[in-house]
């Protein structure tokens, strides 16, 4: 296999339990002239890696780390522990079912970087999808043994943008691009995902009222003053939304019934 693959091999992290699979981490350049490089962390499946699919997990934000959330808190093999400089094995790690990759995307997120600082002011959905696609093409050159594997993408939150947009790049690339860039892309899965501004915001308000988080008055004010089908909100709408968001300074908006981190 390519030399760079061997160079990316991770031996053992500080405080890491012994595990029966290989892991790799490092940078893949996505733009030579600007010096943009994305950082990945890849775990082979716990067993039978050659027969299992390859899955890329993305988190949202925009600007949040797939390694910080996805790997270390949610579905990766190594979870961080309270007050201990050690990692613990996650018995429900998703690399039980697949070869699993976490990608810090776009540049500016986590360890991913650019040598052209103005790049950080030009970020958005399009460049994120473009760079992630180039990352994948170059990653498969480094790990050619995975090129024929079934490939899936999964993610949460703002990945409701990232995942379909990257999927479309792959889908179009498979149809129009050169044969050597073909990716065996089969599907994607997104959770608690931002997909449509109008329904996402409407649903957020309905949910808060239905779960006794906001008062009848705040709910009525928002319904009276906000039209989520248009982009720019009125002052009256913003004022009503300020009252709505104030409630979520008291409880965890992302998990209504868990204690907040004090």
């Amino acid at each position: 296999y390519p030399e760079q693959q061997a160079a990316d091999r991770v031996g053992r992290l500080p405080g890491q339990p012994a595990v029966p699979f290989q892991q790799y981490a490092g940078y893949v350049t996505v733009n030579e002239s600007h010096g943009r490089a994305l950082f990945y962390w890849f775990f082979e499946a716990v067993d039978d890696a050659p027969k299992k699919p390859l899955v890329l997990w993305l988190n949202g934000g925009p600007g949040c780390s797939s390694i910080g959330y996805g790997e270390a808190e949610e579905l990766g093999p190594f979870l961080v522990q309270k007050g201990k400089p050690e990692l613990k094995w996650n018995p429900y790690s998703w690399n039980r079912e697949a070869n699993l990759m976490f990608l810090e995307s776009p540049v500016g997120v986590g360890f991913s970087y650019t040598n052209t600082s103005s790049d950080l002011k030009k970020l958005g959905d399009k460049i994120t999808a473009d760079d992630a696609y180039i990352f994948l093409l170059n990653w498969f050159k480094r790990f050619p043994q995975y090129r024929s594997h079934e490939f899936y993408i999964a993610g949460e939150s703002y990945a409701g943008h990232y995942v379909p947009q990257l999927s479309e790049k792959i889908f179009d690339g498979n149809k129009q691009g050169p044969k050597e860039n073909h990716i065996n892309f089969k599907g994607f899965m997104i959770g608690n995902a931002l997909m449509d501004d109008e329904t996402d915001q409407t649903g957020m308000i309905e949910y808060a009222w239905d779960h006794a988080v906001i008062s009848d008055r705040v709910y009525a004010d928002i319904k009276a003053h906000c039209n989520f089908s248009i982009e720019n909100a009125t002052n009256a709408c913003n004022k009503a939304l300020d009252e709505y968001f104030a409630v979520y300074r008291l409880i965890d908006m992302y998990s209504l019934y868990t204690p907040v981190c004090t």
Binding site: Y27, P62, E74, Q81, P85, M189, N192, D196, M253
Partner: protein, 147 residues
């Protein structure tokens, strides 16, 4: 408070060296969500047109929702999927995990929607066993366990 602990861990020089990370010695710390990114310049109001295109192209699409998330709640996702306008092929039905209802699921033409009972925004963190079941069934293109 998991985020506090991982920020400490991933900023350790020995951890970064083991991961082959931060080779350029960035001028800022590793953080969960970037402080380095400036403006976000483009984001479409909806990704539904892309999702429609990919479903039509035969790409498998699953959507899930932890039902205690208030940020992008299950209510929002249901409204979004209704807007997508797909025909349902299997009606709203419970799925099971260890003899308990794990959530509910509905199958549309080209899209499967699964809720996870008791999970917040980060489903695999709140309900790891149920999330792994979801992932396994997604990869296998199987229905969530009906009993």
């Amino acid at each position: 408070c998991s985020s506090d602990y991982s920020e400490v861990y991933f900023n350790r020089p020995d951890v970064q060296a083991a991961l082959h990370a931060n080779v350029t010695k960035m001028g800022y710390n590793w953080t969960h969500c970037s402080d380095a990114i400036g403006n976000w310049n483009d984001a479409p109001a909806s990704t539904l047109p892309i999702i429609r295109k990919l479903i039509a192209g035969g790409i498998r699409v699953w959507v899930f929702s932890g039902d205690t998330d208030g940020r992008i709640p299950v209510t929002a996702t249901r409204l979004t999927l209704n807007k997508l306008g797909l025909k349902s092929v299997q009606e709203w039905t419970p799925w099971y995990d260890h003899l308990q209802v794990g959530g509910w699921t509905i199958t549309y033409e080209g899209l499967t929607f699964v809720t996870i009972r008791g999970a917040g925004h980060e489903v695999p963190m709140h309900t790891p066993r149920q999330a792994l079941s979801l992932f396994r069934n997604f990869l296998g293109d199987k229905k969530m366990p009906p009993t």
